[in-house]
Symmetry: C7
Subunit: 95 residues, 7 copies
Amino acid sequence: MKFKPLGDRILVQRIEAEEEMRGGIVIPDTAKEKPQEGMVVAVGDGRVLDSGDRVEMAVKAGDRVLFGKYGGSETTIDDVEYLILREDDVLGILQ
Amino acid sequence: MKFKPLGDRILVQRIEAEEEMRGGIVIPDTAKEKPQEGMVVAVGDGRVLDSGDRVEMAVKAGDRVLFGKYGGSETTIDDVEYLILREDDVLGILQ
Amino acid sequence: MKFKPLGDRILVQRIEAEEEMRGGIVIPDTAKEKPQEGMVVAVGDGRVLDSGDRVEMAVKAGDRVLFGKYGGSETTIDDVEYLILREDDVLGILQ
Amino acid sequence: MKFKPLGDRILVQRIEAEEEMRGGIVIPDTAKEKPQEGMVVAVGDGRVLDSGDRVEMAVKAGDRVLFGKYGGSETTIDDVEYLILREDDVLGILQ
Amino acid sequence: MKFKPLGDRILVQRIEAEEEMRGGIVIPDTAKEKPQEGMVVAVGDGRVLDSGDRVEMAVKAGDRVLFGKYGGSETTIDDVEYLILREDDVLGILQ
Amino acid sequence: MKFKPLGDRILVQRIEAEEEMRGGIVIPDTAKEKPQEGMVVAVGDGRVLDSGDRVEMAVKAGDRVLFGKYGGSETTIDDVEYLILREDDVLGILQ
Amino acid sequence: MKFKPLGDRILVQRIEAEEEMRGGIVIPDTAKEKPQEGMVVAVGDGRVLDSGDRVEMAVKAGDRVLFGKYGGSETTIDDVEYLILREDDVLGILQ
C-alpha cells in the first residue's frame, strides 16, 4: 500500500540515533530536545499560495532530514512505523 | 438524503482499525494518538482564495484517507455515522 | 419585520432533532457534540475579499443545513427564535 | 456637536428592549446573551483594504441593527448615551 | 522641541472631562470605561500597506478625538504631558 | 566593530532621562511606564513586503527617538551598551 | 556530512562569550538575557513569499551574528554542536 501525503506534508521513516553511553550505561534521552533524524519516503504536491500556485517541495523522497521532536503524527502502514510531518517541521537536509 | 459539504469540508465514513490483541486480550486504544482511517463520501467545492478563485479539492469521493484523531464533527445521516472534516485535517491518501 | 444579515452571516431557524429514546426513556443530549440542523431564512451579501470583491454565498434561503452546536447568536424576531451564524459555521447542506 | 466615526466604526443609539414579564414580575436579563437592538446615527468611511481601496459601509444612518451584547465603547455626546461599534459587530439590519 | 510620530501613530493632548458631581461631591471615575477626549497635536505619515503604499491619515493636527481609555503611551515633551496613540485607537472625530 | 541590524531592526544607544527630584530626593522610576529616549546608531535595510519590495526605514542614524520601555534586546558592543529594537517599537522622532 | 537548512533557516556555530569576572570570581549568567554570538555555517534558500518568489537571505556563511538567547534547535553534526535558527531570529551582523 502506498501513501500520498496531502499538501505540504511528507511521510518520514525515523532513523533512531544511538543512545549515548557512559561507562556502558545508557543515558535515557528525556531532557534533551535535539532534532530527530529521518528518511523521507513520500512527499505531497506542496502548499497552495494565495495566488493559487503551489510552492514546489524542498525535500524529496530519499532525503535524510532533521526535524523537531514534537510535531507530526505517527502512523503504521503495512506494519512499518512512519511519521507524517509538514515540510515546515523539517529543519534541513543532511547531505 | 445527500449531504453537500461546504467549502473545503469533506464527509468521511470512518473505517474502524482492528484493535491490537496480545494473547487474546484487546488493548484499549486510549494512549496512542495515531491517525484514523476513513472513506471519503462527499467533498465540498474547495476553499476560496483571497483572489476569489477556489482551490481544487485534493481528495475525492472514494478516496481512503488518514486523518487526525481530534478534529471534525460527528454526524448521523439516514442512521449512518459520518465525520465532517476540513481537507486540511486529512494527512494523506492511501493508494 | 424582515432581517438582512450582514456580510457572510445567515439567519437560521433551528430544526429540533427528535431525542433518542431507549425503552421509552428520553436520553438527555448533553454529552454528544453533534452538529445541529436548521433552515436558512435569510443570507448576507457575502464576505469582502482583500481584492474588494465579495465571495458569493454558498447557502441560500430555504437550504437545510448542518452547523456546529457552539457558535452564532440567538435572537427573537416577531416572537420567532432564530440563530445568526457566519457561513463558515455551516458544515454543509442536506439535499 | 457631531461625531464622525473613524474607519469601519459606527455610532449607535441603543433601543432598550422591554423586559419580559411573567405575572407582573420583571425577569432580570443576565443569563441571556441575545443581541441588542439600536439605531445607527453616524458611520465611518469604511475599512481600508490592503489594495488601498475602502470597503463601502453596509449600514447607513437610520438603519435599525442588531449587534452583540459585548463589544463597542459607550460614550456620551451632548448628554445622550451612544455606543461606538465596528461594522463587523453588527449582525444584520431589521427592515 | 517637535515630535514626529512614526507610521500610523498620533500625538494627542488629553482634554480632561469635568468629573460628574452629585450634591457637590465628586464621584471618582474608576468603574466607567468611557472613551477619553483629546486634541491631536501631530500625526505620522500613515501605515504602509502590503502594496508598499501608505494609507493617508484620517485625523490631522487640531482634530478633537475620542479614544479608548486603555492603549497608547504617555510621554512628557517640554514639560507638557501627551499620549502617543495608533490611529486605530481613535474611535472618531468630534466636529 | 560595526553592527548591521537585520531587516526592520535598529541599533539604539539609550539616553538616560534625569530622575525627577523633589526636595533633593530622587524618586525611583518603577511605576511609570513612559517611553524611553535614545539615539539611533545603525538601521537595517527595512522589512520585506509580500510583494518582495522593502519598506524604506523611517528612522536613520542620528535620529533621537522615543520607544516603549519593554521590547528590544540589550547588547554590548566594544564595551558600550546598546538596544536592538524593531522600527515598529519606535513611537516617533524628536526634532 | 553537510547540512542544508530549509527555507529561511540558518546553521550557526555558537561563539561562547567570556564570562564577566569581578575579582577573579565568575558571575554566572542567568539573569541577563543578552543576545548570543555565533558564526553562520550554512543558510537556506530563503522564505517563499505569497507571490511565489523567495526573499534573498540577508546573512551568508561566514557572517558573525547576534541572535536571541531563546529560539532555535540545538543539534550535533559530526560531533560538533550547532544551532538551527530562522533568519528572523538573527538581530544583526557584526562587521
